[in-house]
Assembly symmetry: C2
Homo-oligomer: 209 residues x 2
């Protein structure tokens, strides 16, 4: 297997943390997104969507999309389980992972990609050039703050996002919260449950990945 | 189990098709989105995100998010497999499902929710009121057309989205293509692979769900 990564980007960090939790080391290729290496002919053969992360299997075929990559790793390296130990728990991990993606991470990406100077004309990941929409950046910021409130309320009754064990959903949420700092959005002072959880998950050695 | 549905909406249709393929009938409650029933006190106890679909389990707890619901059904009713039969096939189904969601379905939702007259002030699903962004509706339309092209190219080499068998990824793509008609975007005349696939999947009895 070969893992296509970009050390500075949030999406592949979800896979890096996942691998670190499993204790797996894989041959890793850094793709320099800043230099536009994702658009090179060589990388387009790996992933025609021109995004990282991507996982090349031993037969040369490629799996992209964070969830698909992590699912494949979970099945081929089951311990420790990061996607739940029963059908119901797996559904809860999947549900919270989807909520954090849709209400948190994609809103944060809207905020960042539609405002960052370096991404003018590249407001959507991938090959096509789309102009930034400043109103969407504003909406994204508002949604990130709103979702912080929801996470805080949920974590008042739950040790981790999908219940009592650390899971893929916590990885997605950690990457989301840390990504929000890029546009200077921090966990609000009154979000004590979210702050408590963030300290706990950030102390895990995998968080350095 | 109890399934919270809205017969006219695209997201719960993904679950309805999934259930029809499995041959499962579940007690179903219609939530009238047009009348704002998703915001009622009663439904907020089922799903505080105020969206359908949702699946209430026998212990009264609730699973929301299409992928999590389908995953739960797949595990509790494995035949016929709709999410792949091996770790690698499951990863491919998951990858294509994610691609169709992010590049197709969410772009289509952007196009629709930011332009439909009835959704003024409700441009994002859920409880919060966000104004429509006409530029985002335009970007959504452009992305939908672009993704039609990608699907067409992919289906030139693949019978179904994730390879040789019908899967969850095809269900997501069928709902996406049919949803696009709501804003008068149809499969382009030159997209013959996509058109071929659309005829095949639409003929399955489950497509009527």
């Amino acid at each position: 297997m070969r893992f296509y990564d970009c050390k500075t980007a949030p999406s592949p960090r979800r896979v890096r943390i996942f691998l670190a939790e499993k204790g797996i080391e894989i041959e890793t290729v850094q793709v320099d997104l800043g230099a536009g290496e994702q658009f090179s002919e060589a990388f387009r053969k790996v992933n025609p969507d021109c995004v990282v992360p991507a996982l090349e299997l031993d037969d040369g075929s490629c799996i992209s999309e964070v969830l698909a990559i992590c699912q494949y790793i979970e099945e081929t390296h089951p311990e420790p389980a990061l996607m739940g130990g029963t059908a119901e728990k797996r559904a809860r991990v999947s549900m919270w992972n989807a909520k954090v993606e849709q209400q948190g991470l994609w809103a944060m990406a809207d905020a960042f990609r539609n405002s960052a100077k370096g991404l003018a004309g590249r407001a959507v990941t991938g090959l096509e050039a789309y102009p930034q929409i400043p109103e969407l950046a504003e909406r994204g910021r508002a949604r990130v703050l709103q979702f912080f409130g929801r996470l805080d309320a949920h974590l008042g009754n739950n040790e981790f996002l999908a219940g009592e064990s650390f899971s893929m959903a916590d990885i997605t949420a950690l990457v989301f919260v840390d990504f929000a700092r890029w546009i200077k959005i921090h966990v609000p002072d009154n979000a004590s449950n979210l702050a408590r959880w963030h300290v706990v998950v950030s102390k895990r050695p995998s968080a350095a990945a």
